[in-house]
């Protein structure tokens, strides 16, 4: 009897350890940390519903940028550190839409329409480059993104923009570092079907938009081409033997990722209310990368569920730590915690043995 009980306990313990190993210790710590924050929030006097609203809002801004990671992970191109390239297409779309004089919600549609061809062209070039350097994607992607951002810094000054709402007042040329979207597509998705219950408000429109894209991605991954993409990612030699054009599939995944990044930044801007130019896109890849990793993805495996869980956990920590920490110990350590958590998570994913020998 006793023996059996002991054995039972062992198996439960084993199961817990196995679960922790599968799920990854860092993820467990982060999830536990967020839970702690949610519990601590009411105790230190922060309104729980306001906190939840903030978290959901930030989730809705960032989710598509995180979703952009999925195709490239699937096709074996690794984590897309070159996200800024797509973001730049989005920024070009947004600024051109305003420059051409479109206003209100319509400017959002036009921004997407302008951003799409730019993202496709840049994505094809980027994908072609990544096909030439298989195996070294992540490092080169990082620097392609950086170079693109630095190049666009020059372009924002040189391109002939004239809209009075965007250029520096005195010089009359060169775009400002932040451009307000008021009167343009500020909160155009967030205000659509918005639900307000007391202090809780849910931007249903933005969430629906994300759901639409996420569903499309899920459906795509179950089509023939989508399955081929997964095959290319998990075993390129096998995929080649099965008659799949590996380079073409990889190119497609890169284009998809770049396009999603362009759409993602537009959705981010409509929620945030501002366009941020110049060095702002520089570090936008890292939060998206770490978010999907926190959600349980690895360097060569990612799903839509990973995106949702990861974005929620990451944005939860980003929004909760400042308020809770501030009222608890009167120190704003949120920035430092964010740096350590996000980069620690990426580091953890990069050092997994099973993935290192790809």
């Amino acid at each position: 009897m006793n023996d059996q009980l002991e054995m039972n306990q062992y198996s439960i313990r084993d199961r817990i350890i196995g679960f922790a190993k599968n799920f990854g210790l860092p993820r467990l710590i982060i999830a536990g940390f967020l839970l702690l924050l949610f519990i601590a929030a009411p105790l230190v006097g922060a309104d729980f519903l306001t906190q939840l609203t903030n978290t959901i809002n930030r989730f809705s801004w960032n989710a598509i940028l995180v979703l952009a990671m999925v195709p490239m992970v699937h096709s074996g191109c690794g984590l897309n550190f070159g996200l800024p390239l797509g973001i730049i297409s989005g920024l070009l779309g947004a600024t051109m839409s305003i420059e051409l004089g479109f206003t209100g919600g319509f400017s959002f549609v036009i921004a997407i329409l302008i951003a799409t061809p730019i993202a496709l062209v840049l994505g094809v070039g980027y994908g072609w480059l990544l096909n030439k350097i298989k195996g070294g994607e992540m490092m080169i992607a990082t620097y392609v993104g950086f170079s693109a951002v630095a190049f666009m810094c020059m372009m924002w000054l040189l391109l002939p923009y004239h809209s009075a709402n965007m250029v520096w007042g005195l010089a009359g040329k060169g775009l400002r570092t932040t451009i307000s979207l008021e009167g343009y597509f500020d909160k155009v998705l967030a205000n659509f079907l918005q639900i307000n219950i007391g202090t809780l408000s849910i931007p249903v429109g933005t969430l629906l938009f994300f759901a639409l894209l996420a569903f499309a991605m899920w459906a795509f991954l179950h089509t023939k081409t989508g399955t081929a993409m997964t095959a290319v990612g998990s075993n390129p030699t096998f995929a080649k033997a099965a008659g799949i054009n590996v380079n073409k599939i990889r190119l497609l995944s890169v284009v998809m990722s770049t396009w999603l990044a362009a759409i993602g930044i537009l959705v981010y801007e409509q929620g945030f209310g501002f366009i941020q130019l110049y060095m702002a896109p520089f570090y936008m890849a890292l939060p998206a990368v770490s978010a999907i990793l926190i959600g349980g993805a690895s360097v060569n495996k990612a799903s839509i569920v990973n995106v949702i869980i990861g974005t929620f956990l990451f944005q939860g920590i980003v929004t909760m730590t400042p308020t809770v920490m501030n009222s608890m110990i009167h120190m704003d350590m949120s920035e430092v915690i964010r740096i350590i958590v996000s980069n620690g998570m990426i580091l953890y994913a990069l050092t997994r043995k099973t993935e290192a020998t790809r």
Binding site: G135, G136, S147, L157, E335, I339, G344, T351
Partner: protein, 381 residues
């Protein structure tokens, strides 16, 4: 039957020239950029010369720290930022204890060693877990440790770690100010034994220290450990079969690199005269790596010559680009962004060239194997 001798060694001059250009495209490109920008910028040669000599003294030691991991086949060590942070922490302590001048610099170097070794060990261990993707991992490590550095310097110094003088503390009582002045230490090494030739100040002592580091690297290559490192860099599996402890060798190469980077950062900061506590180190890795690559180094091959050529060309571009940009477009920011773009662009190009070369070598090997097999089959027939 075939009378045409297949001789790949003998090429006509044109082929030789294109081959040279292909192998040295980055330095050649830089020489062209500088050749265009220098006349436009309108700087006098003596000004340019003195600026380059100053920057050479400031940066060369830092760049030298990158050579050893390249030798060990670990690529460009973006983790050199860790050493820079160790150097900064040491300098913060020394300036808090008010030990100035050359004794202060020497003490800071001594204090930086344990921090550098510790961080180097950590970095080496992590990189051993991520073989084949060392560069991206070391790059993320530098961000991660930057978070820990901020945690220590911004929150622990002054609260947990005793800091005596309030002049370097933030007004709130803990944490270090954004800039720590090293006024009493400024250029103390540069000015000792400095020679003035035609208005150009040559910091002899700094150059002697840099020469010492070069000699150390040359000597180190010839030691048993240095030979082991080269073997590991060539082929890890073969090295392991030859009885070399691969993991240990790789960790040592990173530790040496980190310690050298710490020294380099202290030399750099004593020249600058102040520490930007939270930003001095963040760009240093990128600029050093770009400079090394501009000198004609690649991910798997770098020499001391590359370091000196790189530091000269890269900083020449750095000095003239903003001025030239302002003259051409009438906006001084264009030149600033241009040099940032060029730094990143150079690293991108060098990485792409390295990866394509690696793939080409791989496919050549495959083709060779196929040829050999065909030959064998023919012989059997």
């Amino acid at each position: 039957m075939s009378t045409k001798p297949i001789n790949t060694k003998e090429k006509n001059p044109l082929q030789k020239a294109t081959g040279f250009l292909r192998n040295n495209s980055v330095p050649v490109m830089f020489i062209l950029i500088c050749a265009v920008c220098i006349p436009i910028s309108g700087f006098s040669p003596s000004y340019l010369l003195s600026e380059i000599v100053t920057r050479m003294g400031r940066n060369t030691f830092l760049i030298l720290s990158l050579l050893i991991p390249i030798m060990a086949g670990m690529g460009l060590n973006f983790g050199m930022t860790l050493g820079a942070m160790a150097g900064e922490i040491a300098l913060i302590f020394v300036s808090d204890w008010q030990i100035w001048g050359i004794p202060g610099v020497i003490l800071a170097m001594i204090i930086s060693i344990p921090f550098s070794v510790l961080l180097g060990l950590l970095c080496g261990k992590i990189l051993n877990m991520a073989k084949g993707r060392e560069m991206v991992t070391s790059y993320i490590i530098s961000y991660f440790i930057n978070g820990i550095y901020q945690l220590i310097v911004l929150y622990m110094m002054g609260s947990l770690i005793p800091i005596i003088h309030s002049s370097i503390k933030l007004p709130r009582g803990y944490g270090i100010r954004n800039t720590v002045s090293l006024l009493n230490m400024r250029q103390c090494i540069d000015n000792l034994l400095a020679i003035n030739i035609g208005g150009v100040k040559i910091p002899m002592l700094t150059f002697i220290i840099i020469a010492g580091a070069c000699l150390f690297i040359i000597w180190f290559r010839k030691t048993k450990l240095g030979q082991d490192m080269r073997a590991v860099g060539q082929d890890m599996q073969v090295a392991r079969d030859a009885g070399i402890n691969v993991e240990r060798t790789r960790i040592i190469s990173i530790v040496i690199s980190t310690v050298l980077a710490g020294f380099g950062m202290i030399l750099y900061l004593q020249n600058m005269g102040n520490i930007s506590t939270y930003s001095s180190h963040s760009q240093i890795g990128m600029f050093c790596i770009a400079a090394l690559l501009v000198g004609g180094a690649s991910v798997d091959k770098a020499s001391i010559g590359n370091v000196f050529l790189g530091v000269t060309l890269f900083h020449l571009m750095f000095i003239v680009a903003p001025q030239a940009g302002a003259k051409i477009t009438g906006d001084s920011m264009i030149g600033e962004y241009f040099r940032v773009f060029v730094s990143y662009g150079v690293i991108t190009v060098a990485l792409v060239m390295y990866e394509t070369k690696k793939r080409k070598a791989k496919s050549l090997l495959g083709a060779q194997l196929r040829l050999d097999q065909l030959k064998e089959e023919d012989e059997v027939k």
